[in-house]
């Protein structure tokens, strides 16, 4: 829990919380603007184009220009739409993206067993807006609530293509949520806490979860997160060639801008979540002789943003290089590959952890667990195969003709 709020709550505590909220909000907005520019410029570079280069140096103000332009555009609303839900949907997409960022620790000294507590105006606090006990569950809950914006936007537009996009979105996001949750569970196994601050603290001293959990949950999480964000190669929700613009086809002006903002904000916050879960958040080597502000703010912020930038780059890289998945491939990857892989890995690591706690040989326990998981998986697979074969025998082509007539 944040030490700021553990004592009495007076005016100064409330002001500090407000300050943190305002700084997080402003920082995230500026970050998103930079991200839009970064993505456009990088994709342009990768495609041998120039990209935005008019507004400001290197076109860095292009996002601002686009935002102002969208503000002044006419706001169209389809005649056959659901007025209230149509107006509500962009906010439903945007708010969860904001809220996730509130539990991300962005600075603080985590080296030498310290728990990232910094002193701000004479009060001890954490460099995150809130540190609830179930921080990472909050992240998962918000990422699953985010689907409402997409879904309701598609439905309330009262038009075919957006509806198709939103049906795709809901199925995709619910499917990949499971893989996302299972890979997070592996991290929680090592951290022993749900609080984001606790997860970062448990990774101090290079014990980053990316190698503590042996890479697989990290890979599963990144793939599932890409699908959860509806980013390429999983952007079937707004597949331009098939669905015009997907769920936001009917949106224009500032409401479209809100969806756009939500999408990029989700990318930034999801990268921050990956950094928090697997790369130790703002932790890194900190020289003990440095002054307090360097130890608490400067170096951790640099580490955090350096790690964040890696993932932002990776997401753009995905977009520029990978072709879009087909819908059945998407579902197969999610249900038949990622979920069994994440679950099996979770069971094996649990066995190793139990073996360590009980003083058994962890290698033997891990091997036995892996064997059990593989045998179980093969049994399941063969039983599914058998069931499929039986179905083909049972259905007589003549019956199908009869049913059709």
């Amino acid at each position: 829990m944040d030490p700021l709020l553990s004592g009495g709550i007076g005016l100064s505590e409330i002001l500090i919380v407000l300050l943190k909220v305002v700084v997080a909000f402003a920082g995230l907005m500026v970050g998103v603007m930079a991200m839009v520019w970064f993505e456009r410029k990088l994709v342009a570079d990768m495609q041998n184009r120039i990209g935005p280069n008019r507004a400001g140096p290197f076109g860095i103000l292009q996002t601002l220009a686009d935002g102002i332009k969208l503000f002044f555009k006419e706001d169209l609303q389809p005649e056959r739409s659901d007025p209230f839900v149509f107006k509500l949907a962009p906010y439903l997409a945007l708010v969860p993206a904001f809220l996730v960022f509130t539990v991300i620790p962005i600075a603080g000294n985590f080296s030498d067993g310290q728990d990232g507590v910094v002193t701000l105006f004479g009060h001890e606090t954490l460099m995150q807006v809130a540190d609830p006990q179930m921080g990472i569950l909050f992240v998962l809950a918000m990422s699953s609530v985010a689907v409402y914006g997409v879904m309701l936007a598609g439905w309330s537009s009262g038009s075919k293509y957006p509806l198709l996009g939103s049906v795709r979105a809901s199925a995709q996001m619910v499917s990949y949520e499971a893989a996302l949750g299972l890979s997070v569970a592996t991290v929680l196994l090592f951290a022993g806490t749900l609080s984001t601050n606790g997860i970062v603290a448990s990774q101090a001293g290079w014990r980053w979860n990316i190698w503590m959990t042996l890479l697989v949950p990290f890979v599963v999480f990144v793939i599932a997160a890409t699908a959860e964000l509806n980013r390429p190669p999983f952007d079937l929700v707004e597949a331009e060639q098939e669905l015009v613009g997907g769920f936001h086809t009917e949106y224009s002006s500032i409401r479209f801008a809100l969806f756009f903002l939500a999408e990029f904000m989700n990318t930034v916050t999801m990268s921050a979540v990956i950094v928090t879960l697997f790369l130790g958040g703002p932790s890194g080597p900190i020289p003990s002789g440095a002054p307090g502000w360097v130890q608490d703010f400067l170096l951790p912020l640099i580490y955090f943003f350096a790690k964040l930038l890696v993932f932002l780059f990776v997401f753009v890289w995905f977009r520029a290089t990978l072709p879009r998945f087909r819908y059945d491939q998407l579902m197969d990857l999610g249900w038949k590959f990622l979920i069994p892989l994440a679950l099996g890995w979770f069971l094996i690591l649990t066995a190793i952890k139990v073996a360590r706690d009980q003083g058994w040989n962890p290698v033997v326990a891990g091997a036995v667990a892996a064997l059990a998981v593989v045998v179980g998986g093969l049994l399941l697979r063969s039983s599914i195969r058998a069931a499929e074969d039986k179905d083909f025998d049972a259905v007589d082509p003549a019956d199908l003709d009869g049913a059709g007539a």
């Binding site: 944040d2 709020l5 540190d131 006990q133």
Partner: protein, 185 residues
Amino acid sequence: MSLLAAASATTTFDVPANVVFAVLAVGMVTAAIRVVTTKNIVHAALWLVVVLGGNGIVYLLLQAEFVAMTQFLVYLGAIIVLFLFGIMLTRAPLGRSDDLDNNQRPLGVLVGVVLLAVVGFSLARQWGRDTLSFAAYQGGGAAGGNGRTQALANSIFGEYLIPFEVVSVLLLAALIGAIVLARRD
């Protein structure tokens, strides 16, 4: 959430929490009535979101943060999304649809009254007898910051392990039943 926890560290259920609960309860009851009276099936699902979300906030007021987040994650994030998915996959008309009612109203009223009687009876029976000691879970804050979640996990996987497993078998049975009903062969 930590704000709530800190504010009510000494008392178990204080005045602000009661006021919030009253406002929330009015909202939830209104939304629950709208679920069954609205003339648009997607709106009904959205009113249900309000009811279940309010339920989650009630858990937060009771300082059951883990249960609250699970409520948001499971009910809002999965169940209603699947409702909406099912509705949109079959038919999701905009505007009023007048065929949302059927002739089973008396049965619905009967079930509602019976449920109210059962819940009301159990509440009335236990009124003033059970004291929920939230303070018991407060001390966990210092030790790693997950005291209440740990206490919940200990009671689910310790004291209530068998009921928990029975419920999961029940859910599995429902799942298999759904598959059997849905398959045509």
